[in-house]
Structures are given as C-alpha cells and as structure tokens.
Amino acid sequence: MIKHIIQRLCSTLLLLLAVSFFTFWLMHATPGNFFDSLRLNPQISQSTVERYEKLYHLNDPLLVQYGHWIVNILHGEWGYSFYYNVPVIHVLGSRLFNTFILSFTSLLLTWGLAIPLGIWAALRRNQWVDRVLSVFSFAAFSTPGFFLAVLVLYWASRWGSLPLGGMHSPNYDDMTIVGKIGDTMLHLVIPASVLSLSSMASLQRIMRGNMLGVLRQQYILAARAKGLPESVVIYRHALRNAFNPLVTLLGYEFAALLSGAALIEIVCSWPGLGSLLLTAVRSKDVYLVMSSTLLAGVLLVMGNCMADILLTWVDPRIRYEKKQ
C-alpha cells in the first residue's frame, strides 16, 4: 500500500509541474510584455519594476524564466501582486483559508444530506419520495449556482435574519471568540447551502443508483437467506458496498467544490480564492493569477490523493491486492 501511495505522489508531482508550466506559458502567451503596462502605471515605482524584471529574468528564453519562477516558488517567493501592492503570499494565505472554510462546510452539508436521501430514495423506489427527490435533484443541478445565490439573497433580504454577504459583520473585531465563530457561521449559511445544493443533488442520485445496483447483487440475497434482519442487510451490507465507490468521488467533489465556490464567492462577496482570482484576472495581475491557479491545482491534487488513500483503506480488495 505504501508503494502505491508513493507512486501516486510522484506522478502527481510531475503533473503539478506540467500544470505550472502550462499556466506560466499561458500568462506569457499574451502578446506584449506584461511589464510594459506596468511601467506606464504611475503607482508602481521604477525600482520595483526593475527589481522584478531582474528577479524573473524577463529577457531570457521562456524555459529559463520558468525555471527561475519554480525555484522562486520553492523558496517562498511567489511573486508580487501589483493590484494589492503586496507580495502574493500575503494575499493568498487568508483567502485560501476562507475558501477552505466554505468548501469544507459545504462538503459536510452535501455528504451529510445526500447519502441518507439517496438511501431513502433507493429503498422507496418509484414511490412519491423517490419521484419528488428526483425532480428536485434535476432542478437543483440545472440551476446556475450564482442565479440561485441571487434568488436566495433576494429572499433573505426580505426575511431579514441572515447577513447578505461578506464574511464578517462590521463589529467582528469587537466580538468574543465564540461570537466570532458564530458570526462567521451565520455568514456561511447562504453561500454554503447554495454551494451544496447542486452537488448534493447529483450525489444523491449517484448514491441511489449505487444502492439500487447493490441491492440486486447475489450477496444481498445470500444475506437474506442467512436469516439476517432486513435492517442488517441494508445498513451493514448494502450501505457499505454502495458507499465505497463514492469515496473516489470525494476527490472530484473537492474539485467541483473549488470551482463552484469561486462564482458563489463572487456573488456573496465571500473573500476567498475564487474572488481573488477574478480580481486578478480583471486587473491582469499576472503573478497572482498564476499563483492562484497553481494553488487551486495543488488543493485539487491533495484532495484526490486523500480520496485515493481513503479508498485503499476502505476497500479490502485494493488493500490486500499484494498479499495474494
């Protein structure tokens, strides 16, 4: 199993390098030297521009520049954000954390609701519960997330109890620790629930499908032939077998989550990685764009890796593959 993990890590490292090169090339594929427009910008001092030109060896061929960029990244020098006027790292850190909170909460909501609902729909196949959930699922993942966010915000503005965006209330700094946590959670309600809605819909359908597929299997018949109570058959045998393949989905869920979170962040003014990237793209803040994209890729890879490891742990057929 360890060998398997190391292999995966190696190949993903290579992939990360490829991704970073791709992003790098993309940024520099835009005609015109980025620094030209910078030089025209009166807010940035000439010395800063010169310093970064030197740091990134702009007159050297592309591959050399890339090499220097990678080395710099590994040394913690992620570039300079010209929009925010600080090194990229300072901006990325807090935004990353915020996106993480949003994504994680959304993940909990999604899986916490989708799995039971999927089981319920499978057990009550074609009855009204199943049909209602089916229609609801379709509607949920057909609705553009940002649109739903606007609708929910509109409704919330009428209702008046939930904050309408942002992450903290104006008086955040004066609150106690408990107050701060509560305040953040309150602000999380709308973005996290909108974000979970569409992934919950598709996950529920998948769980239902898996469950139905598993219930057709021979070992379920054999379990009943042993005289096991129906609850044991369903919740011990069927459920575990239906759930296992979903573990691989966890990795992709994470990706979809990061992706979907970006738009929701923008609409709900949640200060995360997605809204950061948007600002960066709009202002052509090259290093910020590259770093954010690279970071998003890293997060995704980590998510996939964890999902892989989780699957290996949870499925004995993979875990004990070597032992035979």
């Binding site: 299997q217 021979q218 070992y219 018949l221 054999a222 379990a223 009943r224 032939a225 042993k226 005289g227 096991l228 109570p229 044991v232 045998h237 575990r240 077998n241 296992n244 499925d315 004995p316 057929r317 004990y320 032992k323 035979q324």
Partner: protein
Amino acid sequence: MIPLLSINNLTVAVGEKILVDRVSFDVPKAKIVAIAGGSGSGKTTIALSILRLLASPLRMTQGSILFEGQDLLGLSAESMRRCRGDRIGMVFQEPLSTFDPLFTVGEQIDEVLAVHTKLSKQERYKKVLETLSEVELSDPPRAYKSYPHQLSGGMRQRAMVAQAIVARPSLIIADEPTSSLDVTLQVKIMELLARLRSKNMSILLIAHDLGMIAHLADEVIILRQGKMVEKGPVSKVITEPHHEYTKALIEAFQ
C-alpha cells in the same frame, strides 16, 4: 415417518408465464434429494420459493410447503426470517459473488450465529472455527480473518458450506454447489456434503450433472421447463428411465 420437507403442487409464475408447474416431492430426514434438469427448468426458483425469497415479479400462485410439520407459507415474515439460516441453510453456486467482499469470511459466518443464537462472542468464535475445520479448511484461524477474494475457489466454497451448516440446520439447500469448481474439487465438495447426511442433515441438491447425482443422491426429481417428468430413487431412475427427457439427460452425462 413425517418427511422433513414436503412440497405439494408448487406453482410459480411471473405474469402469464409459468416457471414451476405443480411440482410435488418430499425430502426425508438425513437423505439427499436431487433436483435435476437443464437451465431454465425452474430448479433455483423452487429453492428460493422454499425460503420465500422470490424476487417480486415472481409469485407463488398455488401449492403448500411443509417443513418440520409447519406450513412455511403461513408463517409471519419474522418467523420465516428466524427459520432461514437457522433451520434451513443454503449453499450458493458462486461463492465469490455470494460473500460480501467487504467483510471477512469469518465475520460473515459469525453473523449467522449472532442473529440466531445467544452465544457470547468467544463462544461464537470457537464454534465458527470448529465448523471451518469440519469443512476441512486447513488453517481455520487464518481462513476466519481472510476476505473472500483472498481465498481460492475451493476454500471459498468450503467456507460457504460452513456458513450454511454453522447453526446446525436440519435442511441444506445446495444450488449447483460445484458448478464453478474444477473437477477434482467438485468431488471433494460433494463428499463433504455427503458426510453431512451422517450428521442428521438433509440436503436438497440442485444440479444438472446426473453423474454426480447418481453417486450421491438417494432420490432424484427430473424437471423440464418447470414440470416434473420423473421422480424416484436414484438407482431406479438412472437404470430404468421412463421419460424421454430423462434418457436424454443420462446420455448426456455418460
């Protein structure tokens, strides 16, 4: 002597199509009764009907099933469940797909005892190990801890037999127990099953290999497309077949 199992006029249909047509036979105590026939003859359907595990489009339209003097069809669902695994055990054809891949073999055999008896965990563990050695598995503790995919085909089938007999049922239904094994293993498993007779268990053997049936069974019922065409003691039926189909089957396995 009241037979252990008595089936009368069993008829199973799905929609308009009749799968089992007025089949009647008895299984006496400590005897092996075989049901033989080609595929699609309704053999497995009979087995599942006894356990009341027919998949929903299939329905039993008439007939009675008496087991140990009790009418199985009249039992409540809960009583029927208690009967399964405890009084009637089943051995399936393909052990790899009939064991849950995510649990060890030992855990799955243990489940039978956990549900039907009040033995403690250690007592159950002991009993499972005993049963595993009864089915001639060489290293019972190791077999207990193994996952189904880690055992060889023959070992898996023995484990399946162990699972069926661990609660000491009086009837074992064996549905093509050796079809997925190679020839040498087939013989061994069949001998294992034959020995169960001496432990006071009856076996309802479902098979299509008349050669094996001739060796082991006491009585045989020949089925063709859901209808019984011949029935009687094995020695008689094999040497003096009456029906065309029986003759054809015998020839096929010469």
